[in-house]
């Protein structure tokens, strides 16, 4: 009985895969094709492409990314708390208040250190 419940989902998955395959390939199969070197070159708004395809990113993106990960992950501690929020009452509020306070200290620190400035 259990597996039959999943039949519509399985049908949907198969349909999605087949349809995607058909749509993405139909034009290459039926459409005309005459490749010239200009046509196969990557489109750069009419400019000649210069240099390698992989560009090195400014390290600032990485800094913001790491800061985001840190604060983002901390949020998982709010989730279980939110589930039992009413049962925990004031105790839970006090403890999460402390947790939030510590997080805020981290934020103040990075702000004051200039980690959030773009320049």
């Amino acid at each position: 009985m259990a597996l039959q419940q999943f039949a519509p989902i399985a049908a949907l998955i198969i349909l999605a895969v087949v349809l995607t395959f058909i749509i993405s390939n139909i034009s290459t199969i039926f459409g005309p094709s005459n490749n010239t070197s200009r046509k196969t070159a990557p489109y750069e708004s009419g400019m000649q492409p210069i240099g390698v395809g992989m560009r090195r990113m400014p390290v600032k993106f990485y800094l913001i990314g790491v800061l985001f990960i840190l604060f983002d992950i901390e949020v998982i501690f709010f989730l279980p708390w939110a589930v039992v929020f009413r049962d925990l009452g004031f105790y839970g509020l006090a403890v999460m208040g402390l947790f939030f306070f510590i997080l805020t200290i981290g934020l103040i620190y990075e702000w004051k250190k200039g980690a959030l400035e773009w320049e």
Binding site: Y62, I69, I76, P80
Partner: protein, 100 residues
């Protein structure tokens, strides 16, 4: 019904793959990803055991492991970026200024 052993076998396999990655890989980022794989293998084991015992301890442990792993990512990537900026390479075989 799947037995808890199945999950443990899977997590042990992941853990061993991760450990082999740390030992065999030469790129610092890949080594680092292998360590993360090991941590997540342990997470899988913890969740499976928590399901087996019906307690919350394992789930709570996993929450903390995820957070700690994020902190490790921050520090580890910073170190790797610093090394890359000074040497243009993150091959750990080239880290041999000190020998003896």
């Amino acid at each position: 019904m799947v037995e808890v052993e199945a999950f443990i076998v899977l997590s042990a396999a992941l853990f061993i793959l991760g450990a082999m990655g740390v030992v065999l890989r030469r790129n610092a980022i890949l080594v680092f990803m292998s360590v993360e794989l090991m941590l997540n293998a342990a997470n899988l084991a913890l969740v499976a055991f928590a399901w087996h015992w019906g307690g919350m301890d394992g789930h709570i442990f996993v929450f903390f492991v995820i957070t700690v792993a994020a902190a490790e990512v921050a520090v580890g990537l910073a170190l790797i970026v610093a090394i890359f900026r000074s040497r243009q390479s993150i091959n750990i075989d080239e880290l041999h200024l000190m020998e003896g």
